[in-house]
């Protein structure tokens, strides 16, 4: 039963990792951009949630109504103002610029909020649980997992059933021909980054409810996100969810064997999958 429980908790945790990763997967899929600052943007969203929740005295989940659009607007501005200038055949400039962005965000947060750990207070939600057949599920992890499935399902639907998704796929296929169709690449990329950071907003608020955070933890969130994306297959959103769940389960099972194995087990599973299937478990396929 302990093991079943570990797998279940790991699966739910995997939902959060998938949320970390979905935004990365989306922008990589549309514009082949690897965003090194992604983890720090998640932390930034957590601080934004904290500021709004404390400032307005509202529940952190309610703060999402402000955090998500603000992060989306930030994403659009970031892409149009900075990142679009780095896009080209060479993948190095966007890597360097987002790395610089990562350093800037961390230090700006350090100046603004100090290095003290913070946490979003979600009240009863944090400890509420459901019990069924000897297994106990926290309401919060369940809510995170359900949100993650809904977000990824929504993104997938958007990709394959809307004009915006069509524009994303066309631009991803052939940027210059997409321009011929009247799609302004700079705008399409801006929208992709806006969507990516909107998801990051959700991820950041959930992160802040689940654990304490400080300005320096972005890097480790980024690692989990990258691992989930690569395990799942680059640019494949459902694969990203599967990747997140695999890491979550590996960590939970590893922790069950010995508490010190928790993080290491996730990384080992990632390395094994990378060695056996370098393109990930589900290389990009059609929806």
């Amino acid at each position: 039963m302990e093991w079943v429980n570990a797998v279940l908790q790991g699966t739910l945790l995997g939902g959060l990792y998938a949320l970390f990763a979905a935004g990365l997967s989306l922008i990589f899929g549309v514009m082949r951009l690897v965003n090194i600052a992604h983890g720090d943007l998640i932390v930034l969203a957590a601080y934004l949630g904290l500021t709004i929740a404390v400032g307005l005295g509202i529940h952190p989940l309610l703060a999402l109504a402000i955090v998500v659009p603000v992060m989306a607007a930030l994403g659009y501005a970031l892409q149009r103002g900075i990142l679009n200038r780095t896009m080209g055949d060479d993948i190095l400039p966007p890597l360097l610029v987002t790395f610089g962005l990562s350093v800037i965000i961390q230090n700006a947060l350090l100046m603004g909020f100090s290095a003290d750990p913070q946490k979003l207070q979600a009240g009863d939600l944090e400890t509420a649980s459901l019990t069924a057949g000897g297994l106990t599920i926290g309401v919060l992890p369940f809510l995170m997992f359900a949100t993650s499935v809904a977000v990824i399902g929504g993104l997938q639907w958007m990709f394959y059933h809307t004009a915006l998704g069509r524009a994303f796929r066309a631009t991803s296929d052939r940027q210059d021909v997409a321009q011929l169709m009247g799609l302004n690449r700079a705008h399409v990329f801006g929208l992709a980054m806006a969507l990516s950071l909107a998801v990051t907003g959700i991820a950041g608020v959930f992160l802040g409810i689940r654990t304490s955070f400080d300005p320096s933890i972005g890097g480790s969130r980024l690692i989990f996100g990258f691992e989930a994306v690569i395990i799942g297959g680059l640019g494949n959103l459902w694969g990203t969810l599967a990747g997140g769940v695999i890491i979550g389960i590996a960590q939970a099972v590893g922790g069950q064997i010995h508490p010190s194995l928790q993080l290491l087990a996730g990384h080992i599973v990632f390395l094994v999958i990378l060695a056996v299937r370098p393109r990930g478990l589900f290389p990009k396929m059609e929806g």
Partner: protein, 234 residues
């Protein structure tokens, strides 16, 4: 003579560090079909990409109904009513046949062309509408590429080597569809290796040689000799 819809004056286009066009001057009148011929590497594709906005040029070098458009981006040029059927077709592999056509019409320019008109023109595409565009034969892919350009209801359509790599019977089929496309006031520039084909569908012809216009004439009166001189520089 009516005012031209498109006029090129002294167009020098570069392809990276390489200058591909030198002082090209040419024009297209409303409703006119113009053929652009020339050997491989003469600059025909660079010229098409320049007009379509994929290569940036001096603003005044390309005028559309009097407006200087040489510096506009491709999406801005498309919105003005200029569509390119690119060499090599270049369909979107992750889009279905129908999605490839729909995205061609996403500018929502008003005009006679829509999905059902394109399917009337190329009925096979309706049968294949839900397939991946890459699963079609070369000729069918070319039909998608032409349909995709038509969906934007262009006033000028640029067709770059639409018969390249296709079987003669398919080429014939596509060229037979051409009058139904350009017969309604749409202008066209047709880049073609097959000179006889190019002359038979066009009113006027330009020949490019090493980036320069080496011949301009009426398609029905230009002599074989003049063409081979303009083509090969001999």
């Amino acid at each position: 003579m009516p005012d031209p819809v498109l006029s090129l004056s002294d167009l020098d286009a570069r392809y990276g560090d390489f200058q591909a066009l030198y002082g090209v001057t040419a024009h297209v009148e409303p409703g006119e079909v113009v053929a652009m011929i020339g050997a491989n590497g003469a600059g025909k594709t660079t010229l098409m990409r320049s007009i379509a906005g994929l290569i940036r040029n001096a603003p005044e070098a390309i005028r559309w109904k009097g407006q200087a458009i040489g510096r506009l981006r491709a999406d801005q040029v498309a919105a003005l009513g200029i569509a390119l059927v690119p060499e090599g077709r270049l369909l979107f592999p992750s889009l279905s046949v129908e999605e490839n056509l729909v995205i061609g019409g996403q500018l929502k320019r008003p005009g006679p062309w829509n999905l059902s008109r394109v399917y009337d023109l190329f009925p096979i595409l309706q049968e294949r509408r839900n397939q991946q565009s890459t699963s079609l034969s070369g000729g069918q892919q070319q039909m998608v590429a032409i349909g995709r350009a038509l969906m934007s209801n262009p006033e000028l359509i640029l067709m770059d080597e639409i018969s390249l790599g296709l079987a003669p019977v398919i080429i014939k089929q596509i060229y037979e569809a051409l009058p139904g496309i350009v017969g309604q006031g749409m202008s066209a520039i047709i880049v073609e290796q097959d000179i006889a084909k190019a002359l038979s569908v066009s009113a006027r012809v330009y020949c490019l040689q090493e980036g320069r216009i080496s011949l301009e004439g009426r398609s029905d009166s230009v002599s074989r000799d003049a063409i081979s001189r303009a083509y090969f520089g001999m």
